[in-house]
């Protein structure tokens, strides 16, 4: 079955770490630049994220993510570079259009921030199994019910896609046109989507029964088949990152005087 999760087990160092460490990494990668007020910190974190993704052998998987957002970022650079209010210093010109320094600097800051957010999240989602993330949260007191909803999405959605393609084939075999111009596709949408919705509702009811008889709503403390995902280094990594965060805050507060 195809999965919609981007995670892949590569046996790398990051695969072994607890998901919490990676979540903490996202938090400080986003907070520290704000606290310290310097874009160089963001650039530093981008470099670190790149390095982490590289040693986890998942750098290639970031390419589709980066190329989609890269397109958006390119438009930001062009529009800000040409039209930003307060543009006074031309840097270079392409034909009759000239780009200005102020706009480009502003766009550069946006690009840096977006890349920092994207790459630090990539570190988490490309190296941590979704079920491990949720399970570790449930261990820490997160509601198992919400955990279930979150985690079942990864399997139920591909199932619905499969149902959809079965229904498409069935309707097509009855002579319905599902391919062609936009109008044909819009007309086909109703007969295709309504059986999917109906069957999903029925399936959900049946699945609710099946979950219920397997103690889904039990109030006692849950136990876990799998051991908690963590390794010895996690504690030090988390402490180290917290120390960095505190150091950043102290540096900023001291710098104000």
């Amino acid at each position: 079955m195809k999965s919609i999760s981007l995670y892949e087990e590569k046996g790398s160092l990051l695969n072994k770490l607890a998901p919490e460490s990676k979540i903490l990494y996202i938090i400080i990668a986003l907070l520290l630049p704000v606290i310290m007020g310097s874009r160089w910190v963001s650039i530093g974190f981008i470099a670190v994220s790149f390095f982490l993704l590289l040693i986890s052998k998942v750098l290639r998987k970031t390419v589709p993510i980066l190329s989609i957002s890269g397109f958006v970022l390119l438009t930001v650079v062009i529009i800000q570079g040409i039209f930003r209010a307060g543009n006074v210093t031309p840097v270079f010109a392409v034909g009759p259009v000239s780009f200005y320094k102020e706009g480009l600097m502003f766009a550069f800051e946006i690009v840096v921030n977006v890349l920092n957010i994207l790459l630090s999240f990539c570190v988490l989602i490309l190296t941590a199994k979704p079920s491990d993330i949720v399970e570790n949260f449930v261990r820490k007191g997160f509601s198992p019910r919400f955990g279930y909803v979150f985690i079942s999405v990864f399997q139920i959605v591909p199932q619905m896609t499969e149902t959809m393609s079965t229904i498409t084939d069935a309707q097509r075999s009855r002579g319905m046109e599902t391919e062609g111009n936009l109008l044909v596709r819009i007309k086909a949408f109703g007969p295709l989507i309504s059986p999917v919705v109906m069957s999903s509702l029925i399936n959900t009811r049946e699945r609710a029964l099946a979950l219920e008889v397997r103690g889904f709503n039990a109030r006692n403390k849950k136990t876990f088949l799998n051991d908690e995902k963590k390794c010895g280094a996690d504690k030090y990594i988390q402490l180290g990152m917290l120390a960095m965060l505190i150091a950043g805050i102290v540096w900023r507060v001291a710098g104000w005087r």
Binding site: S152, V213, L225
Partner: protein, 289 residues
């Protein structure tokens, strides 16, 4: 009809139930009792109340489906209506028709899938592993333990669903047409598994449309029609009834043949219901000729 003793495992007393938004009784005054370890077949035409009765035994009626409920079901002296589903599921397990919808969708391997109920009810890890291994052994699915639950065939998936219930070690297992969506091989696999459970002393309720199977596996058969209990007796006596057509029940082929030949088992005074029984009787007849 039913033996009503105080020590019965399951006692159903004048059970009545009406679903919300309907104006007829899905179950209408049903009473019977069942001993520990019995294999009970439930038969009747569509809409006769078979599934509702199954869900009532498992407590889903009235604790999941709301509606008007009367009478009571006692399991080991516990009144089903008053027990929470998350508690009752440790005593009574239920397997549904569609194996696909019983997969939780939150687990990535068959092994973890079977663990789902055990994790919820707070079983210790060592015990959990022991139970899962036992259940997989019993249902012969150990070889699929690392597969994704959704990648199994129908029969394998249904056996996984049964294993998930077995692992919770209930004393009663209700199977609501567990083989109706399976191919003949998958059906046979499930039957073999259920028979093993029955031999282990677990009380089994099974809804099934295949009368040959019901006849050969059941200790007693419950015949329902329009929500009422028509008869509760051995398969031989049930299938020897003359009025089965009115209840939409098709008699096993062996019984039909012997009815035509007017061959009754002298021991019970009933027509034979299984191949073996019919064969014995016919070969005896032949020898006498």
């Amino acid at each position: 009809m039913a033996m009503s003793t105080e020590h019965s495992k399951i006692i159903v007393e004048n059970l009545k139930y009406k679903y919300l938004a309907t104006d007829f009784l899905a179950l209408d005054g049903i009473s019977f009792s069942v001993e520990q370890g019995e294999f009970i077949g439930i038969i009747g035409k569509n809409e006769s109340g078979k599934s509702t009765l199954c869900q009532a035994i498992a407590g889903l009626v009235p604790n999941f489906h709301k509606g008007a409920y009367g009478g009571r079901i006692l399991i080991d002296g516990l009144e089903v209506k008053n027990v929470e589903l998350s508690e009752l599921c440790k005593k009574v397990g239920i397997v549904f028709q569609n194996p696909f919808n019983q997969v939780t969708g939150s687990k990535l391997t068959v092994y973890e899938e079977i663990a789902f109920g055990l994790e919820n009810t707070g079983i210790e890890k060592q015990e959990m592993i022991r139970r899962i291994d036992d259940a997989m052994e019993l249902l012969d699915i150990a070889k699929y333990k690392d597969r994704n639950p959704f990648d199994l065939s129908g029969g394998q998936m249904q056996r996984m669903a049964i294993a998930s219930i077995i692992a919770m070690q209930p004393e009663v297992i209700v199977l609501d047409e567990p083989t109706s969506q399976l191919d003949p091989q998958g059906r046979e696999e499930v039957y073999q598994a259920v028979q093993k459970l029955s031999k282990k002393g677990i009380t089994i309720f099974m809804v099934e449309h295949n009368m040959e199977k019901i006849a050969s596996y059941s200790d007693r058969v419950l015949l329902l029609d329009g929500g009422r209990l028509i008869d509760f007796d051995t398969p031989q006596r049930i299938f020897s009834r003359e009025d089965l057509d009115t209840y939409g029940v098709e008699v096993p082929a062996f019984t039909r043949i012997c009815k035509e030949l007017n061959l009754k088992n002298p021991g019970t005074g009933c027509y034979p219901v299984t191949l073996e029984e019919a064969y014995d009787l016919l070969s005896k007849e032949k020898r006498e000729m």
